[in-house]
Every structure is written in C-alpha cells, then in structure tokens.
Symmetry: C2
Subunit: 534 residues, 2 copies
C-alpha cells in the first residue's frame, strides 16, 4: 500500500467521509487512492476558497470535519481566507495539502513555495509527513487535532514521494477528548456575581448558542436578571419561534459601546472579550464599559452547555432585581410554547435602536417564508445589520455568520452546509461585493443539486466602506467613489448564476421578491434571487 | 499631513501612478488620501487575486511597478497566488497592505492574522511601518526594492493608526540600481566554451527574451552553432515575423529530457537550471543530460542584453561546426527582413515533435489574425502546449506566460497588461479551469473598457490532470472522473462574461471561430470567445 492509500484509509477510519477538493499534480496519487478505496465522497470546488469555505459550512452543520484536498503553496494560499473564517468559527477541518516530492524542492521548481508557513498562519496543527510510513499516523493525529474541542484547523502536508512510495500504514482513529466541564469554582463564582444583582451581561458563543445552551442561558437570565448577548458574528445559533431571542453585539463601535454601556460585569461563555472589528481614531478597542470586569464562565474548548446548565441550577429560585433587561415576553409580545422563551433578554429590539434593520422589509419577508428547520448562511454584511430582530419569530432555524470577517464566505459556506445537512433548506444571504469573491461555489451547488436558495443583496456598492470612510472622518472623493462602486457595469447575477447552471431571477420590488422567494422556498435545488431593492 | 498622505505622495514621487485595489476598512485613510492627492489612477479588482495579477501584467508591459492596495491578513492571502506568479516573472510590484492599528491587534479582533508571515512567503522585501514618521521612508525603500533588477515583490504593511496619525513625511524617490553588466571573465569563459564546438544549448529568460536580447542570442547561435531555448514559461518574449524563432523547453518531463538530451553544456542567461515542474516516480528533477555542465553567462539581476551582446562580439567571425541545431532558415523556410532571424535555432518544430500543437488549427488561426504589436497572455495550459511553433510567423508581438504555475493568472494578467500597454491589443488565451479561478477580472476589463480579446479554451476538463494522473502511473476511476470534469453542468462563458458586462460569443467550429476572432481583433474593447472546439 502506498502512502496515499494509507492516508485515505486513515481518514475513513477517523470518520471523515467527505472531501472537498481542488487537486493539482502533486495530489495525483491521493486522487488515484480515492479511486481505489471506496467510501469517500469527493466534491469539486472550482477555486480553493470554495473548497475551504465548503469545509467550514459542512463542519458547522455536520459537527465533524471534512477533508479538503488542496494544491501546494499558492493553492493553499487561495484557501486561507475561508480557513481563517473557519478558525474563528472553531470549525474542525482537516486539510490535505500535496507538495513537491521531498527531493524536488531543492531544485526550486516554479511552484515551490513555503507551504508550511502558509499553513501555520491559519492552522492550529501543521505537520509535513516525514516519510511514507508516517503518513497514516500523521493523518490520525491531524483528525484528532481537528476534533479536539472546540474544533480546530489541522493541516497535513504530503510530499508527493511519500504519497507514491510503498510502505503506507493506515491507522485507526485516535481518541477525541470530550470538552471538559468547567471547574465548579468558576460556575460558583459567576453565580455569586449574579446574586449581587448588579447590571451584568452574559456574552455567548459556540455551543452556548445551541438550543440547550440558549435554554440554560435563558433560565439564568430569568432567575438572575442578567442580560444575554451573542457575539457580533455567530458561528451557528439556534433561533426562531420557541427559542430565546438573543441579539448580537452590534458591529458599529458606537452602537456596540452604547448597547453594553450599562454593564459593569461581563460574563464570557466561550466568548472572547467583546472587541471592535477595527480600531478607529479616538474610539476604544474593547466595546465594553471601560471599568467593566470580565468573568469567564467557560473557555471556548469547554462544555459550554454543561457550564450554563450548572449555572442555571445554581441561580435557580433567585429573584431577579429588575435592573437588567429581562422581559416577560418575547419582543413582539407573543408567548411561545417553551417554558424558557419568556426569559429572553433582548435589549436592542426597540424601533429606535441603532442596529434596527437597514432593510427591515426584507427581514420581515424572510421571517415569513423561511421554512421550518432551515439553515441561514449570512454574509449580508451592511444589508443585514438588523436582520436578527425581525427574524426571531420565524420558524425554528439555525443561523451561521462570517466569524472571521474575511469576505467571500457566504456562497461556499452555504454549499458546504447543504452537504452537511442534506435534509434542510439552506438560505444564503449574500452581499454582492463578498459574493463576487467566491461566486464559483454556485457551480458546485448545481453539480451536487444542493438545496440552497441564494439571495444576493445587489446594492452595487461596497456599502460598508461608505460607513467605514465616514467612521474615520473622511469625505468621499474620486478614489473612494471609484473603489467602492460595483456598478459601471452592473453585475448581472441572473446571468452569472445561469452561467454556472443555477436557475435565477431578479426582483426589483418587495412584492416580486416575495413571489420569487416564496416559490424558491417551496422547490428543491439551487436557486438564486438577485434582490435589486437592497 | 497624515501617514497615508505621505505614502501616496511618496508613491507618486517614486513613479508609481497606478494602483490596483481592493480596499477594506483598515485601508480607509489611504483611500481618503487618494481622494485628496491627485495623480494616482485607481483600478478596482473584485477579488485580490485579480488585483495582484493585474499588477503582474502591468509590470511586465509597463516595465515599472504598480501599487496594489490589499486588506489585512486574509485579503493579502487571496492575492498570494498571483504574487507568486509575479515573483517568478521578476515583475516589480509594491504591495500596500493595510493592517489593524498597532494597539488593536493585541485584542485579537476577528480579522487579526499574521500578515507579515503571509507577506514574507511571497515577497523579497517586507516591512511593517513602525511609526507615522517612517511611512514615507518605508514606501521609498519599498519602491527601491521592487525596482531593483530584475524586479521584485515588495510589501509594505501599514498599521491603520500610522496611516491616520499626523506627522507623515513624504520622501523623494531613492536611487534604483541599474542591472550590472556581467564580469568579462564570465563572458569570456562562455565564449571559450562555445569555441570548443561541443553541443551546447543556451537557455534564455528575462530580458534575454526581449528583441535586442534575442537578436544578440541569435548572432551567438549563428556564429557558434549553439542552440537556443526559452524557459518552459516565459515572463515576456518578443516573437513573430522578423524575430528569432526560439522554442520553449517542453513542459512534459519526457519531452523536455528528449529535447535537451543532446547537450552536454547548458549556458544559462538569466535562467535557472531547467527543472521539471513536478517530480514523477523514476523521472529526474533536472531535465538536462545527467552529465551536463552548467555555465552561467548572467544572473537574473544582471544586464542580460549586454551579456549577450558582449558574447556575440566575442564569438563573431567564428565558424559554426554544424554539430548544433543551427539552421540557415526560419522553420517554415521563409526568410525575413532582419539580418539575424536566419540564425534562429529551433529544434522542436518538426511534425513529429512531442510538443507539437494539441490544437494546431487554433494556433494557425491565431497566427493569421493576431494584430501587429499585440500582447498575448497565455494561460492556455494543456491546450497551448504547441502554440509556439505555429505562431513564430505571426505579426510581431509579445507573449506572456504563467511563470509560477499557479493557475488563475490569465484574465488578471491580461487586464493589467492592457492597462500597462494601452495602445496594444491584448489577447488572453485562457484555459477554462484556470479561468474560473479569477473570472472576476472580466468585470475590470469592462469597467476600464480595456482592449482585451479573451479566448476561453472550453474543453470542460482539468485536462492537464488526465495527463498528470497517467504520468504517475494511475488509471482514471470515479474520484478522478469527478474531480477533473468541469461539465455537469457546463460552464456557459458567454453568460458569465455578459454577467460582468463583457460582450461574448461561442464558437463550436474553427470556421465560426475564425469569423468571431477576426471580428474581435478588428474592434476595440473587451470581448470573450468561448472556443468550444478546444
């Protein structure tokens, strides 16, 4: 057995049965091994950013890693952006990167590059297989690293000769640690804090945003009077009717600071300290109150649900002092079917809130047409700042966002999510600027007949940059007009989608959008709507 | 004056007046400075791979660097692939990469990444501006580094606060060294070698492939009997009627080895030792004869034209011994107008040559319709292996290739070449697989109304990989069928181009192609032909 075959067998033994790929010459033996060993589903992406974004979306929905197959050096580089987003989402991914034969690199062939440094920039675990006998063991270690909570990027670099030589040894799966339950002392300390009744916000990330995590958090909020917030970008959040309506910390710094100004205590549940995406002259990096103290209930790799459930048990029976933002009702006043939704602590749903929707009508429409158990993949950027509040009462769904802020994640992540959750409708909310980074993913949706409705917000601008330019105190001029504008010529998303085999329609009015989107939700297979009223 | 403005003024003082850009928030002050300071042409690319590929094509044609404006971390990563190709082409490029404010990175915001390591992977010169006062001096040093022969990638990382703070100091241009003329001893040693009359091949790269370089090389070949070869991929080569018909070293290892088997001496003129793109089991890394000795006439950063002219003067009057491949005629027996073309030493033009065209009819057609002084940007990959011989007798033109082997270079390089040579017709020969990596460049062609005719070779496969799989001794199977196939669904390049505002036609027969291509050559502006007979 050659090294490549030992690798394929080790991946399969480790529970990896899906490989998103864009192969090159240095990966031919791996491809040949895939031909010989049954069991691996191979999905082609027409650029590496599609491949890695697919792996991110797959991992978020399937809860386990896919493999990627990437070409040496620059091929890997093309995939770094969406690996960056995956890393920030704690998505487990196992990258297999072919490289030059170990003896060939010394001749500095044209494609030679520092593959290992590129891999390190975005991976928790990197190894270059040192011999054919090691390939299987290295692959097993890569899978273990990727699956170690909360989920990590592992990159195995495979020199071509270690793939083609005989002497490969497939390895069984290595044990994967379960996320440890936080020490009782930490839970107890937070419980004591909450009993003091001072204005406190709990910031939730990772599995704290799962259904059981949110349920426990809501019980804590109901009992203690603390408020709940999600990170500005959530990797995956359970939302919709019957689930706690927890809003995000706003993206804009001033809004974020305003939304957190009332809290002197910040409890972190798998979340880092809330930080502005970017620094701006005269504005703070941390968006919490300058004197706020931080209390970490659980680290990202710990069992966040158990931590919240433990905390809920600790604070049970406590009477909230009313000073927080707890409401007895969900935002629109309805009462749901669960016993904890009424505890939802949401501050930012008032009509005058700075984060209210920039396109409220779209979000209201989405809330109406979203099918039960849908998966929303959201790279709507400026268009979507206010989408959360109007969709809390949609049918139950999961919501995925661009955690690392590197645009071009939407179409690929939606594509991978559809592979990872084949029985669920995926709705991709895609800003046009970011969409152009990785539109190639639409072709993979067509090839695999994936059930994805893509909505492109065709505002024909990098609109977020208008705000950013203003935020740094500058006025628009000829250069910024040229560089932020996506018209001249307008992008025709219907033609672009059709060119990749995806059916598409344009909608210029909300009525038309309602018709098109409603019909798209009822059919199966890939579809794209260009929403020209964005 | 803030740091950003000092940077813009320093770039302009250093002769950089074109900036290919895809900005993000950390670059807003630079954009604002571009708004205030006139003189810089800003050209938007809808993905960073477009931006960096444009800068490569621009540099190859304009002979001086453009600036790129890239977003921190993952934004730069998206541009690495085409920077890799630019590096292998010795194209001067000055990258300006915005990054987080110097104080903000410590908070690990979502987009934080190791920008400097990413930059180092592909740059000769990297610096992170250490203070606002240093920005101007750093930019001047970056330009100097980029313009140092033979041309290099320089990357200046600009923390946002050093851009927005006051205290910037613009700097005048620093001196740029001229390429040194090689020592006489080296020229003399090669002259002595050639006088021995043993079978010798001169491998040409860089400016050795310019019109005066080739003229001198042809005189050397005529006088000494040595043969001439270009590297497998040329950065830019002067070709066409009246110019020496120098063929490339073939891509396929066996063909490359066969083509060089007769030479025990290899003279390198700005070229590295000829190496296979990839290693294959049982095949050599170097494609020269195992006992060949190497003689370096000139390093890549030296004055290659002067070296060849010096060598020609040394060997003048020498009588070739007839043992080499010198022919008294150009390949097809015509005699041209120049006094040196008859010296063209081309070995690989026979009908049975292993590198003869896979699509000879296309190349013959191209030779017929190519306008005088055109620029051919060639990422035709497997389709184009044999395009060189049939086009030696086309109208005089320059030919640019994908020097680093990282696909997705064609459309962007053609776009930048058209900006760098605005009065010349650019013809982009683009394989469909590579084309899908960076099709976004078509939009920039439309926006800037660039005079580019794009020919897409729609063979609907990563056809090169069929050969590579065979070359490693494997048989096609289900995985390779899935991963090499670009049909199901077919890509519709006419719709894709139209979707980005570029007019397009499909041609299924050579007659139809001749009509469409001929008409496209006569009009001005961007156009795309999908050549479905490829």
């Amino acid at each position: 057995m050659n090294g490549a075959e030992s690798l394929v067998r080790t991946l399969l033994a480790g529970g990896i049965d899906t490989c998103f790929a864009n192969p090159g010459t240095s990966e031919m033996h791996f491809v040949a091994a895939l031909d010989r060993v049954p069991g691996m589903r191979c999905i082609l992406g027409l650029a590496e950013g599609v491949v890695t974004g697919c792996a991110d979306g797959y991992a978020r929905m399937a809860g386990r890693p896919a493999a990627t197959l990437l070409h040496c050096g620059p091929g890997l580089a093309n995939g770094i952006s969406n690996l960056h987003n995956a890393r920030r989402a704690s998505s487990p991914v196992v990258n297999i990167v072919g490289d030059h034969a170990s003896f060939h690199g010394a001749f500095d062939p044209p494609l030679a590059a520092d593959t290992e440094s590129l891999a390190r920039s975005v991976s928790y675990w990197v190894r270059t297989a040192a011999s054919v006998r090691q390939v299987g063991a290295d692959a097993a270690a890569a899978i273990q690293a990727a699956r170690t909570p909360p989920g990590r990027i592992a990159t195995l670099i495979l020199p071509a000769d270690h793939a083609w030589n005989e002497g490969g040894v497939p390895e069984p799966a290595m044990p994967v640690p379960k996320p440890p339950v936080p020490a009782f002392q930490r839970v107890d300390a937070v419980a004591q804090l909450l009993r003091r009744g001072e204005p406190t916000v709990m910031v939730l990330a990772g599995t704290a945003l799962s259904e059981p995590g949110l349920a426990a958090a809501a019980r804590v909020a109901a009992a203690s009077g603390c408020e709940l917030r999600a990170m500005t970008q959530v990797a995956r959040m359970a939302r919709g009717r019957g689930r706690p309506a927890v809003d995000r910390i706003p993206y804009a710094v001033d809004a974020a600071v305003a939304s957190l100004a009332g809290f002197r205590h910040v409890v972190l549940v798998g979340a880092p300290r809330p930080v502005a995406f970017f620094a701006y002259p005269g504005k703070p990096s941390l968006v919490t109150h300058p004197e706020a103290s931080f209390h970490e209930l659980a680290h990202p790799g710990e069992d966040l649900v158990a931590a919240l459930q433990g905390l809920a048990a600790e604070v049970r029976g406590q009477t909230p002092n009313g000073g927080g933002g707890v409401r007895g009702q969900t935002p629109n006043g309805t009462s749901g079917g669960s016993n904890w939704e009424s505890a939802a602590a949401v501050r930012s749903l008032t009509p005058n809130d700075p984060v209210r929707s920039l396109t409220p009508n779209f979000a209201q429409l989405l809330a109406r047409v979203l099918p039960e158990n849908a998966v929303v993949v959201d790279e709507s950027v400026s268009s979507g700042r206010g989408f959360f509040p109007p969709t809390f009462e949609a049918a139950p769904h999961d919501w995925l966002q661009i955690t690392g802020g590197s645009i071009g994640y939407g179409f690929p992540c939606a594509t991978g999510a559809a592979v990872g959750a084949p029985d669920r409708k995926v709705v991709c909310l895609q800003a046009d600027g970011g969409g152009m980074y990785s539109l190639q993913a639409l072709w993979t949706q067509a090839r695999c007949d994936l059930d994805v409705v893509n909505v492109v917000f065709a505002n024909r601008r990098y609109r977020i940059l208008d705000g950013e330019l203003k935020a740094v105190g500058a006025q628009p001029g000829p250069a910024s007009s040229e560089l932020f504008d996506l018209s001249r010529p307008d992008l025709d998303w219907v033609k672009l989608a059709n060119g990749m085999g995806v059916e598409a329609r344009r909608a210029d009015t909300l009525d038309r959008l309602a018709d098109v989107l409603g019909a798209a939700m009822r059919r199966r297979g890939p579809f794209l709507v260009e929403w020209a009223g964005a």
